[in-house]
Symmetry: C2
DNA sequence: GCTCATGGTATCTATTGGAAACCCAGTACC
DNA sequence: GGTACTGGGTTTCCAATAGATACCATGAGC
């Protein structure tokens, strides 16, 4: 992709890109992407992989991602029901950026935990 | 940095890296980083740059970033008060990943808006 | 006609986010 | 010497969101 025109700017409060940024930066989205990265998964499989997410919230997350064209939902008419979720081509383009943030988190979690411990009882930086 | 051992895994529900991931993926953090990227800024300057954030929430966001060692807060003892926020070295290492997500948002906001419009009245993908 | 599995909803409560008003210290002005 | 202004917040109150828990519909198999 050559240098594309980007008319959107997250610093503009009414810019749609800000809405998009806050949506993809929500609590469960990066984890859903992490699960779907390796191929289609069923609802219960996603739920099991991401421990701690309740079905209500997972449904909400997946519905939003579907509406935004990042995830596709396929219902197979069989019993018991079978519903598969997979990344769309658009969703796959988001894997790189989300992975960068995930890897950063895993690499620096230790330093942040350390900073939190150091923070207690620390005097404020004061100058002047 | 060579290939460092990464003992943290965001898919583990109790792993600190998940907490970190969800913290840096919160609503205002990427925008704060975007403002501080170019150097130290005062509270009111940050608030003006990021339109739409209330002082209470901006304070909460900055305090958390400070506690996590990503942002440094300096109080100058003068009147009217003067408080500067700047990225720490650790915070600067997060600029790259956050920029990747921001740029993705700005590049693909149009496609997501389109998907939202197409979503209305769309029949479900159903296979049998 | 009881049970199981799947993919969810419904209901209620706890936590978080946001809007609006207020506060404090010192300094400049009148 | 009273008043207003300034910066960096805090307080209070209310709305929106997240989470826990229970429940539901369908049809197959027993």
């Amino acid at each position: 992709m050559h240098t594309e025109e980007r008319p959107f700017d997250v610093m503009e409060p009414d810019c749609p890109s800000r809405v998009v940024l806050q949506r993809i930066g929500d609590k469960w989205t990066p984890l859903v992407f992490q699960v779907l990265k390796d191929g289609p998964r069923r609802f219960s499989a996603i739920r099991t992989s991401i421990q701690g997410v309740t079905p209500k919230v997972l449904t909400q997350t997946l519905r939003t991602l579907e509406r935004d064209g990042l995830v596709a939902r396929t219902v197979y008419a069989q019993v018991p029901p079978r519903v598969e979720y997979r990344l769309t081509p658009l969703g796959e383009t988001l894997l790189g950026p989300l992975d960068a943030v995930r890897i950063w988190s895993e690499e620096h979690a230790g330093k942040i935990l350390q900073a939190r411990q150091d923070y207690d009882g620390q005097p404020e930086g004061q100058v002047g």
